[in-house]
Symmetry: C2
Subunit: 381 residues, 2 copies
C-alpha cells in the first residue's frame, strides 16, 4: 500500500495531460493507464490465454500481441473510482496488477479517473496534523462473534487526554465492508484536512460492516441483525472504550447507497440516540417498499410520510427542533431521486440539506465529496 | 472481514473432524473446505469455463459437473497458512471466494489448515484487554512520498497516559507488505494474550513495507532505500509521535524470511540503535552472498564472521554484553539452516536463542509461533 497515497497526491491534483498509471496499481505496474480522454488502457501478460476481456461498465475484449501481452482500451469514463474485473475462460476475477478493495461482494480491482479540480480535499498535506485510524475488535453478543470496526480519532485526541468528542457512525454500500471508507473513501484524510482548516468539529468516526447474522442463525441476518448489533454491542463498546460525548446531540449516523438506508433506519428510527442523519446516494426507504420487491423504491406518499419511523416526520416543527441535521447528497450523473426526496420533505416543512456532486456517478468520488460537505455542517448547533 | 476472527476462533481451536470451510472464506462461502485428512477441496461455479485449476504447491486440474461447477481436491497439506491461486485461460488470479492477503507480490487467496493444538495463543479472548492497531501515514523524505505503517499499542497505552514503552520494528517477507503481520500474523492478538498473562512486556510494534525507492529513482530501490527510510524517517516519526522509550535498550527489530535479512542488517548493522534482533525463517546473509547470485546463501566463514556488520561479532564477549537478545527460529519442515547458523555462532561464543516450530513450513503459523516465543524473551534484562 506504500504508493497509494503518493499516487493519489501526484495524479489527482492535476489535469491528466498524458496517459499515466492508475492510482491503485501495485508498485511499478504500468497498467491500467488512464488516457488524456479518460479512457483506460489495460494490459496483461498471459501468453497461454485463449481470450481475455475487461469488465468495466461494459465488456471490452482484449487483443494479444506477439509477446503474449493482451490489451484493451475502454470508452472514456466518468471521473472518480470504478471497480472492474478481468474475465478469462468464463471466470471474472481481480486484476493481479492492482490493489484490491472489498466491493462487488468480493475483493475487486479498481481504477481512479483523476482530474477533479477539488482533489486537494482528500489529499494528505505535510503541515496537517494526522488523526489515527484504529482497527478495533469487539465481541458482539447479538451475532455471537468478534467483529472489527475502524475507528478514526482526530489528531488532538492523542495529545489532549481529557477532551471528549462527538461520534459519527459511517456506513459503506452494498457489496462493500467496513474497510470502504478508509481505502476507497479516504475519510481520515478528509477529516484531518477539514479539522486543520477549522471547517469541521474534531470528531470520532466509526465504520462497521453491515453483514450480520444473529448468533446461531443460518444464512444472512439482514439489516435487523445489523441494527441490533449496532445498538446493543457497537455503540456501548465505543462509548465505554473511547472518550466520546455520549448524548444524542453528539451522535450522528451516515451511509452511502444501501448504507444510506441503514443510516436513515438507525438515525430516524432512534431519535433517542441520534440527532443528525445523512444519506449519500440513497433514498429514505420505507421498509415495505423494498420488501414488496417490484423495482426501485418510490417516494413516500403522504400517509407513509406521517407514519414512517414511528411518526418522526408527523410533526415537522418538532422534527426540525429535535434533529440538528438531516443531510442528503448524490452525484449529478445519478439522476434526481435524492433531490426529489429533499423537495418532498421541504414541501411538508421538514428541513433537510441537499448537495449534488457535479459530474460524478454512483461511486466513491461522489461519496468523498458528500463526506466533505456533510462534515462541515455536522455537530454545529 | 467480519467473520475472519470468529472463524479462526471456531476452527483453529479444535481438531478437524469434518470437512469445514476455510477460515478465510468470504461470508457464507462453503468452499474452499478443509477435509479431515488436511486435503483441501475447492469449488468454483463457472459454467462457461473451458478449463480451471488450483495452484497450491502443485497444480490441480478441476473437473466440471453438469451444473457448471468445477471442483478439485489437493493432497494433504501441512498445518498453517497457505497462499494459492486459481488458473483459467492461461492466467493465475485470486479466488473470488476468499479474503485476500498481500503475498506473492499481489493480492492472493489463502487457506488455513487448522489443527494446531496451540491455536489459543493467536485466538482473541473475551477477558483479555485489547491493544489498538493504527494505520499511520508519515512522509518519507528519503522516498519522497507518504508511506503507511501499522502501529500496535498495548491496551494500557490508552488508559495510562504517562508511561513510555519499548518498540519492536517487525517486518514481513518477500512479496508481502506492511499488512502481513496484522492480517496473516495476528500480531495484535498474540501480544494482547501474552501481555494479559504477564508473559510479555507491554510494547509498541511497528510494521512497515520494505518496498522503497529513493525519491525520483526509477525502478526498485532495494534494501538500502528501505534502511535509509527506516533510520531517517520512520524511527524518528515513531519516537516523536508515540510515547516510546527511545534508547537502544528499548528498541528491537525482527522479521520473517527476507524480512529476517532486513532485521539482521538493521539490528546488527546499527548497535547504536538496537539491542535485540530476531530472524524468523531467514539466515544472516552477508550482502555479497546474495549479490553474487549462485543459489542459496551460505553460512559465514570465519573471516566473514569477524568482519560482518562492521565486526559486531569480532568480540563475542562485547557482543553478548551489548545485545540483550539475538533470537532465531524456523519451522521443522524448513530444514536445518537456522539451527546451523545458531550452532556456528555458539561455536564462536556468541549467544543466541534458537526455536523450532514443530510440523510447520515456510508460512505464517511458523511465524506466529516465532513471535509468540520471541516476544516472551524481549525487553527482559
Amino acid at each position: 500500500m506504500k504508493k497509494l497515497i503518493l499516487l493519489i497526491t501526484a495524479i489527482s491534483a492535476c489535469t491528466v495531460m498524458n496517459a499515466q498509471p492508475s492510482a491503485y496499481n501495485l508498485s511499478e505496474r504500468e497498467f491500467p493507464k488512464v488516457n488524456p480522454d479518460k479512457s483506460v488502457t489495460f494490459s496483461v501478460s498471459a501468453p497461454n490465454a485463449k481470450a481475455l476481456s475487461v469488465e468495466l461498465g461494459g465488456s471490452y475484449p482484449m487483443t494479444k500481441d506477439e509477446q503474449g501481452v493482451w490489451t484493451a482500451t475502454t470508452k472514456p469514463q466518468v471521473d472518480g473510482f470504478h471497480y472492474y474485473s478481468l474475465s478469462a475462460g468464463g471466470v471474472q476475477f481481480a486484476d493481479p496488477s492492482t490493489y484490491t478493495f472489498f466491493g462487488m461482494s468480493r475483493y475487486a480491482s479498481a481504477v481512479e479517473i483523476p482530474g477533479a479540480a477539488d482533489a486537494a480535499f482528500y489529499t494528505p498535506k505535510k503541515d496537517v496534523a494526522q488523526g489515527a485510524v484504529r482497527s478495533v475488535t469487539f465481541y458482539s453478543d447479538v451475532c455471537g462473534e468478534y467483529r472489527r470496526a475502524w475507528v478514526y480519532t482526530p489528531a488532538e485526541y492523542s495529545t489532549n487526554s481529557k477532551n471528549r468528542y462527538p461520534v459519527l457512525y459511517l456506513q459503506h454500500g452494498g457489496g462493500e465492508d467496513e474497510t470502504g471508507w478508509l481505502y476507497q473513501g479516504f475519510m481520515d484524510v478528509i477529516l484531518d484536512n477539514l479539522i486543520a482548516e477549522g471547517k469541521a468539529e474534531p470528531m470520532i468516526i466509526v465504520c462497521n460492516c453491515n453483514a450480520c447474522n444473529y448468533a446461531g442463525q443460518e444464512g444472512r441476518g439482514g439489516d435487523e441483525a445489523f441494527y441490533d448489533m449496532m445498538l446493543k454491542d457497537c455503540i456501548p463498546f465505543i462509548d465505554s472504550n473511547f472518550r466520546t460525548l455520549s448524548d444524542r446531540d453528539h451522535r450522528a449516523v451516515a451511509g452511502l447507497s444501501w448504507g444510506a438506508k441503514n443510516a436513515y433506519d438507525l438515525g430516524l428510527g432512534h431519535p433517542e440516540l441520534f440527532s443528525a442523519v445523512a444519506g449519500f446516494s440513497g433514498i429514505i426507504v420505507i421498509g415495505e417498499f423494498r420488501r414488496a420487491g417490484g423495482g426501485a423504491p418510490g417516494y413516500m406518499n403522504d400517509d407513509e410520510l406521517l407514519t414512517a419511523f414511528n411518526g418522526v416526520f408527523a410533526d415537522p416543527e418538532k422534527f426540525n427542533k429535535d434533529y440538528h441535521l438531516l443531510w442528503m447528497g448524490n452525484g449529478s450523473v445519478e439522476g434526481n431521486n435524492i433531490q426529489g426526496m429533499h423537495e418532498k420533505l421541504a414541501s411538508k416543512g421538514i428541513n433537510s440539506v441537499f448537495y449534488q456532486s457535479e459530474g460524478t456517478a454512483h461511486e466513491w468520488l461522489t461519496w468523498r465529496r458528500c463526506l466533505y460537505e456533510f462534515a462541515q455542517k455536522l455537530f454545529k448547533f
